[in-house]
Amino acid sequence: MNRLKPFQGAAAGWLGVVPYGAFLAIFLIVPVISNIWTTFVSQGRFSLDAMSRLLKPQYLDAFLTTINLSLVTAVLGGVGGLALAWALNAAEKPRWLRNFVLSYSAVASQLGGVPLAFAFIAALGVQGVVTRGFLDVTGWDLSQTFPLASFAGLAIVYLYFQVPLMAILMLPALGSLKQHWSEAAASLGASRWHYVRDVVFPVLWPPILGALLLLFANAFSAYATAYALAGGGVNLVPIMIGFFISGNVMMDEGFAAALVTGMIFIIVVTMTLRALLERRANKWLR
């Protein structure tokens, strides 16, 4: 007698997913579909009008700026994160130091939003502690050179979570480079450069590219951090969508929906590429 098996067969399995599926349908899938519907259906007929308006200079500029910011912080964050991951992987002596850096990297990779923005304003804002200190010592006003409410300012703040996120993402891949591979290469007469070019690079490029894509999507979808720092000061897609929803700018519903559809489209493409790369990366990991 098996009391946990009141039903048998495929129907029983589907029955168990009903609450979960229904929940996701109502609160995720239907809202996304109604957004796409509003984008492409206007007055009962299919229309590309809203999407085509995305190409107007002002809106195209928002997409280009957001893509630019995401690219810059993904690449710089990628380089910094790789260095940090390498150090975490190569660190030998004080074990506690490595663990401390690792644990704070893990937390920093998850920070963001309003508190991080205000911490940076306290450091690099016009009245910020670091700004004042620098001004007193060197006479150079950092808040003039890198105003936080600008592209450069946002990039600096985004790097605060992009760098540790890259490090955390790359750690397992770096760990999978076996010590004996480099020894084997050396015993076959390969130089350090040959080893990096012919062994390390072919193994590591898929996970590196995959992690960069995640960083890109991460920066692309950030809203709270950018809004708290710059308000409308930098022309970003998420900020523009926010202004529409809160009623601060006049746009018709179809067009706002088109902005969201465009944003989801870019992130879906990014994450699909990442999933494909991940399949490739898994060949060498573990």
């Binding site: 009391r3 002596k93 998850q110 306290a122 955390i168």
Partner: protein
Amino acid sequence: MAALTHSIQRRGRQVMVTVIFSVALALFFTPLIAAAVFGFTLPGEGVSFESISLALRSTSFLPQLLMTLQLAVLSTVGSLLLLVPTLLWLHLKAPRLLPFAEWLSVIPYVVPAIALVSGASLFFRATFPGFLVSPYSLVPFYMVLSLPLVYRSLDAGIRALDIKTLVAAGNSLGATAIQILLTVILPNLRPALLGASLLSVAMVLGEYALAALLLHSTFPVFLLEMGNNQPRAAAALSFIVIIATWLLLLSLSTAGTQRTRVTGGSCRTHLPVVSSTTPPKGDR
């Protein structure tokens, strides 16, 4: 000779490691220390709790903090009530459906909070206009936003358990399904439940976009308003929030290490709070 160059190389590498760690720690902690210094001092007065105590006396502080705490509890309980039974059912009855359920769980990855709020207001304003008026309407959306994290950590916990054997053992001893669930499965799942809850709470405590754009007064919304006219108080509160998040996530990694001790499985000494499979929690 080879041994000598090897040891020089190794020393050089450790110097590089120290340099990178120092730079990283300096950059990590500069904004934190700046927030503390800026928030807990007044120009010309030195250390002062004046600005933060003013903020805490604001009439909206307590209600908005309590609202966020309520939302955190409700979303976390909601996620566990929805996902634990679903996952147990799938693992026991329909493992074939697990990949599909997992695929569903990562959809929020590609729907940023700002896109979710746009879709939600489109759909619910057209169908149930009253729904989004209550601040508690945020709960299901917070459950959606934290789904990729919560699903993964619960699923990993269940996979580590071999529940089929546990259920068969319970059955053979004559236990009912409820007894098996309450006395065998849930106690064994405690570390996974705890980990999932911490991730969900950390997400809700920081979420700004949905709350602000659906016009609900939560703690992050309070914090942002504070920043507009009392930057020192906002810095002090931000410092406290970041430290609290750190402690919350740190206790998560302790929960993780406890699990390995209990099951006596692979004895990894340190589990990072997030791993390469963990996505960012999606509240930026």
